[in-house]
Symmetry: C2
Subunit: 125 residues, 2 copies
Amino acid sequence: MQIGELSERAGVSHRTIHYYERLGLLKPAEREGAGYRYYDQTALKRLEKIAALKRLGLSLDEIAAVIDLYFEDASGIKGKEKVLEILQTQIAKADTQISELTAFRRDLEASIARMHKLIAEAQQQ
Amino acid sequence: MQIGELSERAGVSHRTIHYYERLGLLKPAEREGAGYRYYDQTALKRLEKIAALKRLGLSLDEIAAVIDLYFEDASGIKGKEKVLEILQTQIAKADTQISELTAFRRDLEASIARMHKLIAEAQQQ
DNA sequence: CATTAACCTGACGTTGGGTGTATATCTAGG
DNA sequence: CCTAGATATACACCCAACGTCAGGTTAATG
């Protein structure tokens, strides 16, 4: 698969793929013959994972720090203690974010209830 | 309270406060005498709310669109149906984000468990 | 009352996350 | 063999969300 197909399937521009490669988010693709990049399925999976992590609010740097956990053989990863540390930081952040989101959701529900009430009252009169 | 105290208490710079004011996130403060801005408690609450919404991943523009829901008398808000719509969009986003975060957290826990196992094995040998 | 700390505005700089554009090369179909 | 379409690199530019700097005003205090 060339960069055009990959970018279309992943829903990002080929410029973004180049950019991610420069940042180390994507492994440099194979370059058969001339300079063309050729990708396989894992590249697509990686891009999807990156998108998911972005939605969670991670920066590209943070993603670069954890993405290999999903795609490299864990036994081959250097500095396991370091990785563990990163993971634990991430989980703490996730917990904070989950509880804030839950509180936010509660507030929203209260606001919605208030709005419904106000609208009902307005229609009464 | 002047801008210095406000910025310190809210944990943002005074330039950020100026910036938020320009974007309409913060009501222009009272300007007694010369041009100094003077704030009250609600300004601090607003800044805290803004920070909370930012952590949820809202852009400053999006925050500007909803912040008044928290600080204006609900009965005085124009276009209640519109507001309701915004609120419902927000709650849907929050739900999506919560479930993605929960799944992410589960993944992280699994990775942590794997790491612990690998480290233990490494120490055995 | 003079100094110093706090404030003002405006212009420009920076960082993150990209996008646009120009120019060159390659590959495939006719 | 030639041309169209896909890629390559490099440099410039964009937007959001600030930060820095410079020059000027104000308020408070010893």
